[in-house]
Amino acid sequence: MSASDKPLSVSIWRGTARAGEFSQYTVPRKKSQTILDVVSWVQRNLEPDLSFRFACRVGMCGSCAMMVNGKPRWTCRTHVEKAVQGNKLVIEPLRNLPVIKDLACHMEDFFDKWTRAEARFHPTKTRNDDIEPVRPDSPARILASQGIECINCAVCYAACDVVEKDKNYLGPAALTRAWTLMNDVKDRAGIKRLRAVSGPGGCHSCHSQQSCAEYCPKDLNPTLSIAGLKRMTAKAAIKGEL
């Protein structure tokens, strides 16, 4: 039996935010097995009440992120062979978010911060107006494209040490969305959004440690987007607009 055929020794966090512990499971190894396959196997065969989130299984919905051997990952697109250490897997709920039960976290704080950062679209036109033409090679569109593939999985939020230290910090995902919208010619929130991202816990709290960029499953660079917001807010402050 080679190392890759050996059954997996899996520790999964069971319990709530107040009380819980790791439970051990032995899971058969399969070809092209993902971490989501592992937790699904445990739920279907050993623990019907194991709680975790998933929906699309193809890396689009952003709901299945968990900590795997200490690193935040999208579990549906992470092969066991990429994350396993020996034959051991330690699977925990996402860091920096309150646990509901087992591997499911409250996402409320995460999305409330999107609202706080004005990370929603404020249209300039009505349905009766013509669609604004956007050239794919325009500088603003290129900047917006850097962050547009975010799937809201909260991997960056779990990876960020500033989020851990400062509960008020908006976090990489909300700020990246705000940066994308600041470069959207169809959006009019402008200064209102810059005010929203430049208060206490805003973009200036980022230490540029780049854990978000390191772990983002979509290979985005939220640190770069946040640096863009820092520049934009600084220019607005110099002009006296903030």
């Binding site: 400062d166 206490p200 709290s205 820092k230």
Partner: protein, 108 residues
């Protein structure tokens, strides 16, 4: 407010960087030939340029240091509100007073 403090922190760092390098270089240069305190004082006393150089250095260090301390206190020790402002201002003014006293001692 945070944006202005962020700008102040970055600008003070930009001003400080060449001053720190000059200060370090100067210290290494000054001790090479075994300069005495009296010889150093003879060069700095009454010098407008040394007063300006170290006076500016003290001002930017006070700004940069107190803002850095403010960020650490907020993140690590969860100090917020008026307490944070009082400590940061206290540290900044303390550095400024001590630093300017030291500068005056060698240039006047």
């Amino acid at each position: 407010m945070e944006t202005r403090l962020y700008l102040l922190q970055r600008i003070s760092a930009m001003v400080m960087a060449p001053l720190v390098l000059a200060h370090l270089g100067l210290m290494i240069y000054a001790i090479q030939g075994g300069l005495t305190a009296a010889e150093i004082l003879s060069r700095t006393r009454g010098s407008f340029w040394w007063a300006a150089f170290y006076g500016l250095f003290v001002v930017v260090v006070s700004i940069h240091g107190s803002l850095g301390l403010r960020a650490i206190l907020r993140e690590e020790l969860k100090v917020t509100g008026p307490a944070l402002a009082v400590i940061a201002w206290g540290a900044g003014l303390g550095l400024l007073i001590l630093g300017l006293r030291a500068v005056m001692a060698v240039v006047i």
